[in-house]
Protein backbone atom coordinates (compact mmCIF):
# COMPACT_ATOMS: atom_id res chain seq x y z
CA UNK A 1 0.00 0.00 0.00
CA UNK A 2 1.16 3.49 -0.70
CA UNK A 3 0.02 5.16 2.45
CA UNK A 4 0.23 3.69 5.93
CA UNK A 5 -3.25 3.23 7.30
CA UNK A 6 -3.41 5.81 10.01
CA UNK A 7 -6.10 5.63 12.65
CA UNK A 8 -7.97 2.58 11.59
CA UNK A 9 -9.43 2.12 15.03
CA UNK A 10 -12.76 0.40 15.03
CA UNK A 11 -14.35 3.00 17.21
CA UNK A 12 -14.00 6.40 15.61
CA UNK A 13 -12.05 8.65 17.89
CA UNK A 14 -13.09 12.27 17.80
CA UNK A 15 -10.22 13.83 15.96
CA UNK A 16 -8.48 16.55 17.83
CA UNK A 17 -5.53 17.59 15.72
CA UNK A 18 -5.70 17.37 11.94
CA UNK A 19 -3.81 14.40 10.63
CA UNK A 20 -1.15 15.17 8.08
CA UNK A 21 -2.70 12.57 5.82
CA UNK A 22 -6.06 14.28 5.96
CA UNK A 23 -4.74 17.16 3.92
CA UNK A 24 -5.52 16.99 0.21
CA UNK A 25 -2.14 18.45 -0.69
CA UNK A 26 -0.26 15.70 1.12
CA UNK A 27 -2.56 12.80 0.41
CA UNK A 28 -3.02 13.59 -3.30
CA UNK A 29 0.61 13.25 -4.39
CA UNK A 30 1.12 10.34 -2.01
CA UNK A 31 -1.78 8.44 -3.59
CA UNK A 32 -0.56 9.21 -7.10
CA UNK A 33 2.98 8.15 -6.35
CA UNK A 34 2.86 4.40 -7.09
CA UNK A 35 1.10 4.82 -10.44
CA UNK A 36 3.26 7.73 -11.52
CA UNK A 37 6.51 6.03 -10.48
CA UNK A 38 5.49 2.95 -12.46
CA UNK A 39 4.69 4.94 -15.58
CA UNK A 40 7.79 7.10 -15.39
CA UNK A 41 10.12 4.17 -14.71
CA UNK A 42 8.71 1.70 -17.21
CA UNK A 43 7.17 3.86 -19.94
CA UNK A 44 8.89 7.23 -19.76
CA UNK A 45 12.38 5.94 -19.12
CA UNK A 46 12.21 3.22 -21.81
CA UNK A 47 10.99 5.81 -24.31
CA UNK A 48 14.11 7.86 -23.61
CA UNK A 49 16.13 4.67 -23.72
CA UNK A 50 14.69 3.88 -27.16
CA UNK A 51 16.06 7.18 -28.43
CA UNK A 52 19.45 6.55 -26.79
CA UNK A 53 19.53 3.04 -28.29
CA UNK A 54 18.80 4.42 -31.73
CA UNK A 55 21.82 6.71 -31.55
CA UNK A 56 24.20 4.12 -30.09
CA UNK A 57 25.55 0.72 -31.05
CA UNK A 58 23.87 -1.55 -28.49
CA UNK A 59 23.20 -5.18 -29.31
CA UNK A 60 21.59 -8.02 -27.36
CA UNK A 61 25.06 -9.30 -26.59
CA UNK A 62 26.40 -5.91 -25.51
CA UNK A 63 23.47 -3.88 -24.17
CA UNK A 64 25.64 -1.16 -22.61
CA UNK A 65 25.15 2.29 -24.09
CA UNK A 66 28.77 3.38 -24.40
CA UNK A 67 29.33 4.47 -27.98
CA UNK A 68 27.15 6.97 -29.74
CA UNK A 69 27.11 6.71 -33.50
CA UNK A 70 25.00 9.71 -34.48
CA UNK A 71 22.55 9.04 -37.25
CA UNK A 72 24.35 5.90 -38.47
CA UNK A 73 21.51 3.61 -37.46
CA UNK A 74 18.86 5.71 -39.11
CA UNK A 75 20.97 5.94 -42.25
CA UNK A 76 21.54 2.18 -42.34
CA UNK A 77 17.88 1.50 -41.67
CA UNK A 78 16.71 3.94 -44.32
CA UNK A 79 19.02 2.54 -46.96
CA UNK A 80 17.58 -0.92 -46.44
CA UNK A 81 15.03 -1.81 -49.10
CA UNK A 82 13.09 -3.98 -46.71
CA UNK A 83 12.63 -1.02 -44.40
CA UNK A 84 11.19 1.11 -47.21
CA UNK A 85 8.80 -1.69 -48.02
CA UNK A 86 7.85 -2.04 -44.34
CA UNK A 87 7.22 1.69 -44.04
CA UNK A 88 5.07 1.68 -47.13
CA UNK A 89 3.16 -1.41 -46.00
CA UNK A 90 2.51 0.07 -42.57
CA UNK A 91 0.97 3.18 -44.08
CA UNK A 92 -0.98 1.40 -46.81
CA UNK A 93 -2.29 -1.39 -44.56
CA UNK A 94 -3.40 1.11 -41.94
CA UNK A 95 -5.07 3.51 -44.36
CA UNK A 96 -6.97 0.88 -46.32
CA UNK A 97 -8.04 -1.13 -43.30
CA UNK A 98 -9.19 1.94 -41.38
CA UNK A 99 -11.24 3.35 -44.24
CA UNK A 100 -12.99 0.00 -44.49
CA UNK A 101 -13.39 -0.13 -40.71
CA UNK A 102 -14.95 3.32 -40.63
CA UNK A 103 -17.57 2.36 -43.22
CA UNK A 104 -18.32 -1.08 -41.80
CA UNK A 105 -18.36 0.18 -38.21
CA UNK A 106 -21.10 2.68 -39.08
CA UNK A 107 -23.12 -0.10 -40.69
CA UNK A 108 -22.56 -2.53 -37.86
CA UNK A 109 -23.31 0.05 -35.16
CA UNK A 110 -26.58 0.81 -36.91
CA UNK A 111 -27.44 -2.88 -36.96
CA UNK A 112 -26.58 -3.37 -33.31
CA UNK A 113 -28.56 -0.32 -32.24
CA UNK A 114 -31.73 -1.85 -33.71
CA UNK A 115 -33.75 -4.52 -31.95
CA UNK A 116 -33.89 -7.98 -33.46
CA UNK A 117 -34.04 -11.63 -32.48
CA UNK A 118 -30.73 -13.12 -31.43
CA UNK A 119 -29.13 -9.71 -30.93
CA UNK A 120 -27.20 -10.78 -27.86
CA UNK A 121 -25.65 -13.71 -29.71
CA UNK A 122 -24.80 -11.56 -32.73
CA UNK A 123 -23.21 -8.99 -30.45
CA UNK A 124 -21.14 -11.64 -28.71
CA UNK A 125 -19.96 -13.12 -32.01
CA UNK A 126 -19.27 -9.76 -33.61
CA UNK A 127 -17.13 -8.71 -30.66
CA UNK A 128 -15.09 -11.93 -30.58
CA UNK A 129 -12.18 -10.56 -32.63
CA UNK A 130 -11.64 -7.89 -30.01
CA UNK A 131 -12.49 -9.83 -26.86
CA UNK A 132 -10.28 -12.85 -27.57
CA UNK A 133 -6.49 -12.61 -27.28
CA UNK A 134 -5.33 -11.39 -30.66
CA UNK A 135 -2.56 -13.94 -31.08
CA UNK A 136 -5.01 -16.81 -30.63
CA UNK A 137 -7.63 -15.40 -32.99
CA UNK A 138 -5.02 -14.80 -35.66
CA UNK A 139 -3.88 -18.42 -35.26
CA UNK A 140 -7.42 -19.31 -36.31
CA UNK A 141 -6.96 -17.22 -39.47
CA UNK A 142 -3.59 -18.78 -40.07
CA UNK A 143 -5.19 -22.21 -40.16
CA UNK A 144 -8.22 -20.96 -42.10
CA UNK A 145 -5.85 -19.72 -44.82
CA UNK A 146 -3.69 -22.84 -44.75
CA UNK A 147 -1.91 -23.57 -48.00
CA UNK A 148 -3.35 -27.06 -48.42
CA UNK A 149 -6.29 -27.58 -46.07
CA UNK A 150 -8.04 -24.21 -46.27
CA UNK A 151 -11.80 -24.77 -46.25
CA UNK A 152 -12.11 -21.71 -48.51
CA UNK A 153 -10.08 -23.51 -51.15
CA UNK A 154 -12.27 -26.58 -50.78
CA UNK A 155 -15.39 -24.47 -51.26
CA UNK A 156 -13.91 -22.78 -54.34
CA UNK A 157 -12.99 -26.17 -55.77
CA UNK A 158 -16.50 -27.50 -55.17
CA UNK A 159 -17.96 -24.43 -56.86
CA UNK A 160 -15.71 -25.04 -59.84
CA UNK A 161 -13.79 -21.81 -59.36
CA UNK A 162 -10.46 -23.34 -58.47
CA UNK A 163 -8.51 -26.12 -60.14
CA UNK A 164 -7.40 -26.93 -63.68
CA UNK A 165 -9.20 -24.84 -66.30
CA UNK A 166 -11.10 -22.63 -63.87
CA UNK A 167 -11.30 -18.96 -62.97
CA UNK A 168 -8.65 -18.97 -60.26
CA UNK A 169 -6.16 -21.01 -62.16
CA UNK A 170 -4.86 -24.49 -62.57
CA UNK A 171 -3.51 -25.09 -59.06
CA UNK A 172 -5.82 -26.71 -56.56
CA UNK A 173 -4.92 -24.16 -53.86
CA UNK A 174 -4.79 -20.38 -53.64
CA UNK A 175 -1.76 -20.13 -51.30
CA UNK A 176 -3.26 -17.09 -49.57
CA UNK A 177 -0.22 -16.38 -47.45
CA UNK A 178 2.32 -17.37 -50.08
CA UNK A 179 1.54 -14.85 -52.80
CA UNK A 180 2.26 -11.17 -52.40
CA UNK A 181 -1.09 -9.60 -53.24
CA UNK A 182 -3.11 -12.28 -51.51
CA UNK A 183 -0.96 -12.13 -48.39
CA UNK A 184 -1.20 -8.34 -48.24
CA UNK A 185 -4.96 -8.56 -48.70
CA UNK A 186 -5.13 -11.17 -45.96
CA UNK A 187 -3.26 -8.91 -43.55
CA UNK A 188 -5.62 -6.03 -44.32
CA UNK A 189 -8.69 -8.25 -43.90
CA UNK A 190 -7.44 -9.48 -40.53
CA UNK A 191 -6.77 -5.89 -39.44
CA UNK A 192 -10.33 -4.99 -40.37
CA UNK A 193 -11.58 -8.08 -38.56
CA UNK A 194 -9.62 -7.18 -35.44
CA UNK A 195 -10.34 -3.43 -35.14
CA UNK A 196 -13.93 -3.38 -36.44
CA UNK A 197 -15.45 -4.41 -33.07
CA UNK A 198 -13.56 -1.68 -31.22
CA UNK A 199 -14.64 1.06 -33.61
CA UNK A 200 -18.18 -0.31 -33.62
CA UNK A 201 -18.70 -0.33 -29.88
CA UNK A 202 -17.27 3.16 -29.54
CA UNK A 203 -19.67 4.36 -32.24
CA UNK A 204 -22.49 2.47 -30.57
CA UNK A 205 -21.87 4.40 -27.38
CA UNK A 206 -22.23 7.60 -29.41
CA UNK A 207 -25.33 6.34 -31.19
CA UNK A 208 -27.22 5.53 -28.02
CA UNK A 209 -26.32 8.97 -26.72
CA UNK A 210 -28.24 10.73 -29.52
CA UNK A 211 -31.27 12.02 -27.61
CA UNK A 212 -34.37 10.00 -28.39
CA UNK A 213 -36.47 13.16 -28.82
CA UNK A 214 -34.33 14.28 -31.75
CA UNK A 215 -34.91 10.96 -33.46
CA UNK A 216 -38.62 11.05 -32.59
CA UNK A 217 -38.94 14.56 -33.94
CA UNK A 218 -37.24 13.51 -37.16
CA UNK A 219 -39.57 10.51 -37.46
CA UNK A 220 -42.64 12.69 -36.94
CA UNK A 221 -41.39 15.20 -39.48
CA UNK A 222 -41.19 12.31 -41.92
CA UNK A 223 -37.45 12.33 -42.40
CA UNK A 224 -36.51 9.13 -44.17
CA UNK A 225 -33.57 6.88 -43.48
CA UNK A 226 -31.05 8.73 -45.67
CA UNK A 227 -32.16 12.15 -44.58
CA UNK A 228 -31.79 11.15 -40.93
CA UNK A 229 -28.44 9.63 -41.70
CA UNK A 230 -27.01 12.70 -43.41
CA UNK A 231 -28.59 15.45 -41.31
CA UNK A 232 -28.79 13.87 -37.87
CA UNK A 233 -26.69 10.80 -37.31
CA UNK A 234 -23.49 11.75 -39.09
CA UNK A 235 -23.12 15.31 -37.73
CA UNK A 236 -23.91 14.19 -34.19
CA UNK A 237 -21.63 11.20 -34.50
CA UNK A 238 -18.70 13.01 -36.02
CA UNK A 239 -16.70 13.56 -32.79
CA UNK A 240 -17.19 9.99 -31.63
CA UNK A 241 -16.33 8.71 -35.10
CA UNK A 242 -13.08 10.60 -34.82
CA UNK A 243 -12.39 8.97 -31.46
CA UNK A 244 -13.19 5.51 -32.83
CA UNK A 245 -10.98 6.02 -35.87
CA UNK A 246 -8.07 7.35 -33.84
CA UNK A 247 -8.10 4.39 -31.46
CA UNK A 248 -8.51 1.79 -34.18
CA UNK A 249 -5.73 3.48 -36.15
CA UNK A 250 -3.33 3.27 -33.22
CA UNK A 251 -3.93 -0.46 -32.91
CA UNK A 252 -3.63 -1.16 -36.62
CA UNK A 253 -0.64 1.12 -37.14
CA UNK A 254 1.48 -0.31 -34.33
CA UNK A 255 0.39 -3.92 -34.65
CA UNK A 256 3.04 -6.56 -34.41
CA UNK A 257 1.00 -9.62 -33.53
CA UNK A 258 -0.97 -9.98 -36.76
CA UNK A 259 2.15 -9.44 -38.86
CA UNK A 260 4.10 -12.05 -36.90
CA UNK A 261 1.50 -14.74 -36.42
CA UNK A 262 -0.14 -14.58 -39.83
CA UNK A 263 2.72 -14.10 -42.27
CA UNK A 264 5.93 -13.44 -40.31
CA UNK A 265 6.47 -10.65 -42.81
CA UNK A 266 6.47 -13.04 -45.74
CA UNK A 267 6.38 -13.92 -48.53
CA UNK A 268 9.89 -12.47 -48.89
CA UNK A 269 9.20 -9.44 -46.64
CA UNK A 270 6.20 -8.41 -48.73
CA UNK A 271 3.96 -8.00 -45.69
CA UNK A 272 6.68 -6.69 -43.40
CA UNK A 273 5.55 -3.68 -41.34
CA UNK A 274 7.61 -1.34 -39.17
CA UNK A 275 6.72 -3.21 -36.00
CA UNK A 276 7.62 -6.64 -37.34
CA UNK A 277 10.77 -5.37 -39.03
CA UNK A 278 11.85 -3.80 -35.73
CA UNK A 279 11.28 -7.18 -34.09
CA UNK A 280 13.24 -9.13 -36.68
CA UNK A 281 16.14 -6.66 -36.63
CA UNK A 282 16.15 -5.82 -32.95
CA UNK A 283 15.23 -9.03 -31.15
CA UNK A 284 15.81 -11.86 -33.61
CA UNK A 285 18.79 -10.21 -35.25
CA UNK A 286 20.05 -8.90 -31.90
CA UNK A 287 20.69 -5.37 -33.19
CA UNK A 288 18.81 -3.42 -30.52
CA UNK A 289 20.06 -0.10 -31.89
CA UNK A 290 18.65 -0.56 -35.37
CA UNK A 291 15.49 -2.13 -34.01
CA UNK A 292 14.92 0.94 -31.82
CA UNK A 293 15.61 3.24 -34.77
CA UNK A 294 13.01 1.41 -36.88
CA UNK A 295 10.38 1.55 -34.13
CA UNK A 296 10.98 5.27 -33.65
CA UNK A 297 9.58 5.90 -37.12
CA UNK A 298 6.18 5.18 -35.57
CA UNK A 299 6.53 8.06 -33.15
CA UNK A 300 5.54 11.08 -35.31
CA UNK A 301 2.21 9.54 -36.25
CA UNK A 302 1.52 8.49 -32.66
CA UNK A 303 2.27 11.99 -31.38
CA UNK A 304 -0.10 13.45 -33.98
CA UNK A 305 -2.83 11.03 -32.93
CA UNK A 306 -2.30 11.83 -29.26
CA UNK A 307 -2.60 15.57 -29.95
CA UNK A 308 -5.78 15.01 -31.95
CA UNK A 309 -7.23 13.02 -29.07
CA UNK A 310 -6.33 15.66 -26.51
CA UNK A 311 -8.08 18.26 -28.63
CA UNK A 312 -11.18 16.11 -28.93
CA UNK A 313 -11.20 15.48 -25.20
CA UNK A 314 -10.72 19.15 -24.44
CA UNK A 315 -13.50 20.14 -26.80
CA UNK A 316 -15.99 17.79 -25.23
CA UNK A 317 -14.81 18.93 -21.81
CA UNK A 318 -15.41 22.56 -22.80
CA UNK A 319 -18.90 21.75 -24.01
CA UNK A 320 -19.62 20.14 -20.70
CA UNK A 321 -18.53 23.25 -18.91
CA UNK A 322 -20.96 25.47 -20.82
Amino acid sequence: MSAPPVSQANTPAVSEGRYLLDRDRVLGPLFLLPAVVYIVALVGFPLVLAVLYAFSNVTVGDPRIDTFVGFDNFRAVWNDRVFRKALQNTIVFTLISQVIVLILANLLAMILSADFHGKRLVRFLVLLPWTTPVALGVLGWFWLLDSVYSPIDWTLRELGLLGPGTMFGPGSNMYYLGKTTLAQTAVIVVHVWRTLPLATVILLAGLTAIPQDIRDAADIDGAGFWRQLVYIRLPLLLPIMAVATLFATVFAFTDLTIALVLTRGGPVNDTQVLASWAYFKGIQGGDLAQGAAIALFLLPVLVAIAIAMLRLARRSGAEEGD
Binding site: F31, L42, A50, L104, I111, L139, G222, G291, I305
Partner: protein, 295 residues
Protein backbone atom coordinates in the same frame (compact mmCIF):
# COMPACT_ATOMS: atom_id res chain seq x y z
CA UNK B 1 -33.40 19.42 -40.62
CA UNK B 2 -36.23 17.20 -41.71
CA UNK B 3 -39.09 18.82 -43.61
CA UNK B 4 -42.18 17.88 -45.62
CA UNK B 5 -44.57 16.12 -43.24
CA UNK B 6 -46.12 13.25 -45.17
CA UNK B 7 -49.85 13.04 -45.80
CA UNK B 8 -51.33 10.20 -43.81
CA UNK B 9 -52.87 8.22 -46.63
CA UNK B 10 -53.30 4.49 -47.06
CA UNK B 11 -50.78 4.49 -49.88
CA UNK B 12 -48.13 5.90 -47.58
CA UNK B 13 -48.86 3.26 -44.98
CA UNK B 14 -48.43 0.49 -47.51
CA UNK B 15 -45.22 2.03 -48.71
CA UNK B 16 -44.07 2.36 -45.12
CA UNK B 17 -44.82 -1.34 -44.53
CA UNK B 18 -42.87 -2.54 -47.55
CA UNK B 19 -40.04 -0.26 -46.53
CA UNK B 20 -40.14 -1.84 -43.13
CA UNK B 21 -40.06 -5.39 -44.42
CA UNK B 22 -37.15 -4.49 -46.65
CA UNK B 23 -35.41 -2.84 -43.68
CA UNK B 24 -35.91 -5.85 -41.44
CA UNK B 25 -34.60 -8.19 -44.12
CA UNK B 26 -31.51 -6.07 -44.60
CA UNK B 27 -31.05 -5.94 -40.84
CA UNK B 28 -31.04 -9.72 -40.45
CA UNK B 29 -28.91 -10.13 -43.54
CA UNK B 30 -26.36 -7.62 -42.25
CA UNK B 31 -26.32 -9.08 -38.75
CA UNK B 32 -25.71 -12.57 -40.14
CA UNK B 33 -22.97 -11.37 -42.45
CA UNK B 34 -21.04 -9.57 -39.72
CA UNK B 35 -21.50 -12.38 -37.21
CA UNK B 36 -20.15 -14.90 -39.72
CA UNK B 37 -17.19 -12.74 -40.68
CA UNK B 38 -16.25 -12.23 -37.04
CA UNK B 39 -16.78 -15.81 -35.94
CA UNK B 40 -15.35 -17.58 -39.01
CA UNK B 41 -11.86 -18.33 -37.68
CA UNK B 42 -13.29 -19.43 -34.34
CA UNK B 43 -15.86 -21.72 -35.94
CA UNK B 44 -13.11 -23.32 -37.99
CA UNK B 45 -11.04 -23.59 -34.83
CA UNK B 46 -13.70 -25.49 -32.90
CA UNK B 47 -14.58 -27.71 -35.83
CA UNK B 48 -10.92 -28.68 -36.13
CA UNK B 49 -10.41 -29.58 -32.48
CA UNK B 50 -12.45 -32.77 -32.67
CA UNK B 51 -11.30 -34.00 -36.06
CA UNK B 52 -9.32 -37.19 -36.50
CA UNK B 53 -6.08 -36.91 -38.48
CA UNK B 54 -7.43 -39.11 -41.26
CA UNK B 55 -10.39 -36.78 -41.65
CA UNK B 56 -8.54 -33.48 -41.39
CA UNK B 57 -5.59 -34.22 -43.62
CA UNK B 58 -7.50 -35.29 -46.70
CA UNK B 59 -8.04 -32.28 -49.00
CA UNK B 60 -10.86 -34.10 -50.75
CA UNK B 61 -12.95 -34.35 -47.58
CA UNK B 62 -15.70 -31.83 -46.95
CA UNK B 63 -14.03 -29.75 -44.24
CA UNK B 64 -17.33 -28.52 -42.76
CA UNK B 65 -18.54 -31.90 -41.52
CA UNK B 66 -17.06 -34.83 -39.61
CA UNK B 67 -16.27 -37.47 -42.22
CA UNK B 68 -14.82 -39.65 -39.49
CA UNK B 69 -16.36 -39.69 -36.03
CA UNK B 70 -15.25 -36.76 -33.84
CA UNK B 71 -12.53 -37.57 -31.33
CA UNK B 72 -11.18 -36.26 -28.06
CA UNK B 73 -7.70 -37.63 -28.73
CA UNK B 74 -6.40 -34.19 -29.69
CA UNK B 75 -7.38 -32.71 -26.35
CA UNK B 76 -5.66 -35.61 -24.66
CA UNK B 77 -2.50 -34.89 -26.66
CA UNK B 78 -2.62 -31.20 -25.80
CA UNK B 79 -3.20 -31.80 -22.11
CA UNK B 80 -0.79 -34.66 -21.51
CA UNK B 81 1.97 -34.43 -24.07
CA UNK B 82 2.68 -30.73 -24.42
CA UNK B 83 3.67 -27.91 -22.09
CA UNK B 84 0.17 -26.49 -22.26
CA UNK B 85 -0.51 -26.97 -18.57
CA UNK B 86 2.69 -25.10 -17.74
CA UNK B 87 1.63 -22.27 -20.06
CA UNK B 88 -1.75 -22.10 -18.36
CA UNK B 89 -0.20 -22.03 -14.91
CA UNK B 90 2.29 -19.34 -15.92
CA UNK B 91 -0.50 -17.28 -17.45
CA UNK B 92 -2.48 -17.52 -14.25
CA UNK B 93 0.46 -16.56 -12.04
CA UNK B 94 1.39 -13.61 -14.23
CA UNK B 95 -2.21 -12.43 -14.51
CA UNK B 96 -2.90 -12.61 -10.78
CA UNK B 97 0.32 -10.79 -9.90
CA UNK B 98 -0.43 -8.09 -12.46
CA UNK B 99 -3.97 -7.70 -11.12
CA UNK B 100 -2.61 -7.26 -7.62
CA UNK B 101 -0.06 -4.62 -8.62
CA UNK B 102 -2.64 -2.83 -10.73
CA UNK B 103 -5.25 -2.61 -8.00
CA UNK B 104 -2.71 -1.38 -5.46
CA UNK B 105 -1.50 1.39 -7.76
CA UNK B 106 -4.78 2.31 -9.39
CA UNK B 107 -7.23 2.70 -6.51
CA UNK B 108 -5.33 5.49 -4.73
CA UNK B 109 -4.33 7.13 -8.02
CA UNK B 110 -7.87 7.28 -9.35
CA UNK B 111 -9.10 8.55 -6.00
CA UNK B 112 -6.46 11.27 -5.94
CA UNK B 113 -7.27 12.35 -9.50
CA UNK B 114 -11.03 12.55 -8.97
CA UNK B 115 -11.14 13.82 -5.39
CA UNK B 116 -7.95 15.58 -4.49
CA UNK B 117 -6.45 17.06 -7.61
CA UNK B 118 -9.12 19.63 -8.37
CA UNK B 119 -9.47 20.95 -11.90
CA UNK B 120 -6.30 19.53 -13.34
CA UNK B 121 -7.18 16.03 -12.11
CA UNK B 122 -9.26 15.35 -15.22
CA UNK B 123 -6.52 16.56 -17.57
CA UNK B 124 -3.90 14.52 -15.75
CA UNK B 125 -6.25 11.54 -15.97
CA UNK B 126 -6.48 11.91 -19.75
CA UNK B 127 -2.70 12.17 -19.95
CA UNK B 128 -2.32 8.96 -17.98
CA UNK B 129 -4.87 7.28 -20.21
CA UNK B 130 -2.89 8.32 -23.30
CA UNK B 131 0.05 6.39 -21.85
CA UNK B 132 -2.05 3.30 -22.56
CA UNK B 133 -1.68 4.15 -26.23
CA UNK B 134 2.11 4.11 -26.16
CA UNK B 135 2.39 0.83 -28.03
CA UNK B 136 4.46 -2.17 -26.93
CA UNK B 137 6.00 -1.92 -30.39
CA UNK B 138 7.79 1.24 -29.32
CA UNK B 139 8.84 -0.05 -25.92
CA UNK B 140 9.65 -3.72 -26.30
CA UNK B 141 13.19 -3.15 -27.51
CA UNK B 142 14.39 -0.85 -24.70
CA UNK B 143 12.38 -2.88 -22.18
CA UNK B 144 14.22 -5.99 -23.31
CA UNK B 145 17.38 -4.18 -22.20
CA UNK B 146 15.81 -3.12 -18.90
CA UNK B 147 14.56 -6.63 -18.21
CA UNK B 148 18.02 -8.03 -18.94
CA UNK B 149 19.64 -5.48 -16.62
CA UNK B 150 17.33 -6.58 -13.85
CA UNK B 151 18.22 -10.23 -14.47
CA UNK B 152 14.64 -11.07 -15.39
CA UNK B 153 15.18 -12.18 -18.96
CA UNK B 154 13.60 -15.54 -19.69
CA UNK B 155 11.49 -15.32 -16.58
CA UNK B 156 7.75 -14.89 -16.23
CA UNK B 157 8.45 -12.18 -13.65
CA UNK B 158 9.60 -9.94 -16.49
CA UNK B 159 5.98 -9.91 -17.63
CA UNK B 160 4.75 -9.27 -14.09
CA UNK B 161 7.05 -6.25 -14.01
CA UNK B 162 6.13 -4.82 -17.40
CA UNK B 163 2.42 -5.57 -17.90
CA UNK B 164 1.25 -3.01 -15.34
CA UNK B 165 2.61 -0.36 -17.71
CA UNK B 166 -0.54 -0.79 -19.76
CA UNK B 167 -2.99 -1.97 -17.10
CA UNK B 168 -2.30 0.94 -14.73
CA UNK B 169 -2.99 3.77 -17.23
CA UNK B 170 -6.09 2.12 -18.59
CA UNK B 171 -7.55 1.10 -15.24
CA UNK B 172 -6.83 4.45 -13.59
CA UNK B 173 -8.94 6.11 -16.23
CA UNK B 174 -11.61 3.44 -15.90
CA UNK B 175 -11.83 3.78 -12.13
CA UNK B 176 -11.93 7.57 -12.32
CA UNK B 177 -15.25 7.14 -14.11
CA UNK B 178 -16.54 5.15 -11.16
CA UNK B 179 -15.24 7.48 -8.52
CA UNK B 180 -16.91 10.41 -10.24
CA UNK B 181 -20.30 8.93 -9.45
CA UNK B 182 -19.63 8.18 -5.79
CA UNK B 183 -21.81 10.30 -3.53
CA UNK B 184 -19.18 12.13 -1.54
CA UNK B 185 -21.54 13.07 1.28
CA UNK B 186 -21.08 9.62 2.78
CA UNK B 187 -17.34 10.10 2.91
CA UNK B 188 -17.72 13.52 4.47
CA UNK B 189 -20.25 12.14 6.92
CA UNK B 190 -17.76 9.46 7.97
CA UNK B 191 -15.14 12.14 8.53
CA UNK B 192 -17.55 14.23 10.54
CA UNK B 193 -18.18 11.08 12.57
CA UNK B 194 -14.50 11.17 13.43
CA UNK B 195 -12.82 8.88 10.95
CA UNK B 196 -9.57 9.98 9.41
CA UNK B 197 -9.57 10.51 5.68
CA UNK B 198 -8.11 7.10 4.99
CA UNK B 199 -10.47 5.51 7.46
CA UNK B 200 -13.36 7.20 5.70
CA UNK B 201 -12.15 6.06 2.27
CA UNK B 202 -11.74 2.50 3.49
CA UNK B 203 -15.18 2.38 5.09
CA UNK B 204 -17.25 4.28 2.52
CA UNK B 205 -15.60 4.88 -0.84
CA UNK B 206 -14.09 1.42 -1.28
CA UNK B 207 -17.27 -0.54 -0.50
CA UNK B 208 -19.35 1.73 -2.74
CA UNK B 209 -16.88 1.38 -5.63
CA UNK B 210 -16.44 -2.39 -5.42
CA UNK B 211 -18.09 -2.87 -8.84
CA UNK B 212 -15.50 -0.47 -10.26
CA UNK B 213 -12.65 -2.29 -8.58
CA UNK B 214 -14.02 -5.59 -9.85
CA UNK B 215 -13.98 -4.11 -13.35
CA UNK B 216 -10.36 -3.16 -12.84
CA UNK B 217 -9.59 -6.72 -11.78
CA UNK B 218 -11.32 -8.20 -14.82
CA UNK B 219 -9.65 -5.84 -17.26
CA UNK B 220 -6.15 -6.09 -15.95
CA UNK B 221 -6.67 -9.87 -16.05
CA UNK B 222 -7.93 -9.97 -19.64
CA UNK B 223 -5.45 -7.39 -20.94
CA UNK B 224 -2.69 -9.55 -19.48
CA UNK B 225 -4.03 -12.60 -21.27
CA UNK B 226 -4.23 -10.63 -24.49
CA UNK B 227 -0.61 -9.51 -24.42
CA UNK B 228 1.74 -11.06 -26.93
CA UNK B 229 4.57 -8.73 -27.94
CA UNK B 230 6.39 -8.36 -24.63
CA UNK B 231 6.27 -12.02 -23.75
CA UNK B 232 7.52 -12.92 -27.20
CA UNK B 233 10.46 -10.56 -26.79
CA UNK B 234 11.32 -11.38 -23.17
CA UNK B 235 10.84 -15.11 -22.76
CA UNK B 236 12.43 -17.89 -24.77
CA UNK B 237 12.46 -20.85 -22.44
CA UNK B 238 9.42 -23.04 -22.68
CA UNK B 239 8.90 -23.44 -18.95
CA UNK B 240 8.32 -19.71 -18.46
CA UNK B 241 5.98 -19.03 -21.38
CA UNK B 242 2.38 -17.93 -21.17
CA UNK B 243 -0.41 -19.28 -23.34
CA UNK B 244 -0.52 -16.74 -26.16
CA UNK B 245 3.17 -17.07 -26.96
CA UNK B 246 3.65 -20.68 -25.88
CA UNK B 247 0.93 -21.96 -28.16
CA UNK B 248 2.35 -20.03 -31.08
CA UNK B 249 5.98 -21.01 -30.64
CA UNK B 250 5.87 -24.48 -29.09
CA UNK B 251 3.02 -26.21 -30.87
CA UNK B 252 4.37 -25.26 -34.28
CA UNK B 253 7.67 -27.02 -34.69
CA UNK B 254 9.31 -26.76 -38.05
CA UNK B 255 6.97 -28.36 -40.52
CA UNK B 256 5.02 -30.37 -37.99
CA UNK B 257 1.80 -28.67 -36.99
CA UNK B 258 -0.45 -30.19 -34.37
CA UNK B 259 -3.39 -28.32 -35.79
CA UNK B 260 -6.13 -29.83 -33.66
CA UNK B 261 -4.16 -29.44 -30.45
CA UNK B 262 -3.14 -25.95 -31.51
CA UNK B 263 -6.72 -24.91 -32.14
CA UNK B 264 -7.85 -26.52 -28.89
CA UNK B 265 -5.16 -24.62 -27.01
CA UNK B 266 -6.32 -21.35 -28.55
CA UNK B 267 -10.05 -21.99 -28.10
CA UNK B 268 -9.72 -23.12 -24.47
CA UNK B 269 -8.34 -19.73 -23.51
CA UNK B 270 -10.00 -17.49 -26.09
CA UNK B 271 -13.61 -18.26 -25.19
CA UNK B 272 -13.49 -17.83 -21.41
CA UNK B 273 -11.61 -14.57 -21.92
CA UNK B 274 -14.17 -13.43 -24.47
CA UNK B 275 -17.03 -14.18 -22.08
CA UNK B 276 -15.40 -12.22 -19.26
CA UNK B 277 -14.53 -9.33 -21.52
CA UNK B 278 -17.94 -9.26 -23.17
CA UNK B 279 -19.67 -8.98 -19.83
CA UNK B 280 -17.67 -5.89 -18.87
CA UNK B 281 -17.31 -4.40 -22.31
CA UNK B 282 -19.58 -1.41 -21.79
CA UNK B 283 -17.34 -0.26 -18.96
CA UNK B 284 -14.35 -0.62 -21.24
CA UNK B 285 -15.94 1.49 -23.93
CA UNK B 286 -17.08 4.23 -21.61
CA UNK B 287 -13.39 4.65 -20.87
CA UNK B 288 -12.61 4.88 -24.56
CA UNK B 289 -15.07 7.61 -25.47
CA UNK B 290 -12.88 10.25 -23.78
CA UNK B 291 -15.90 12.15 -22.57
CA UNK B 292 -17.00 12.74 -26.17
CA UNK B 293 -20.19 10.95 -25.17
CA UNK B 294 -22.11 11.94 -22.11
CA UNK B 295 -23.75 8.92 -20.58
Amino acid sequence: MATAPSANSAKDTAQYKSHRVFGRTMLYFGATFFAMFAAMPFAWMILTVFKADSDLYDPANNPFIYNDPPTLANLDLLWNETNYRTFLLNTLIVALAVVLITVIAVVPAAYALTRLAGRWGESLGILIFLVYLVPPTLLFIPLTGVVADLGLQNSKWSMVLVYPTFTIPFCTWLLMGFFRSVPWDIEEQAMIDGYSRIGAIWRTVIPVSLPGILTVVIFSFTLTLHEFVYSLAFVQSSGEKTVSVGVFTELIRGDVYFWQALMAAAALVAFPVALLYNYFLDRFISGFTLGAVKG
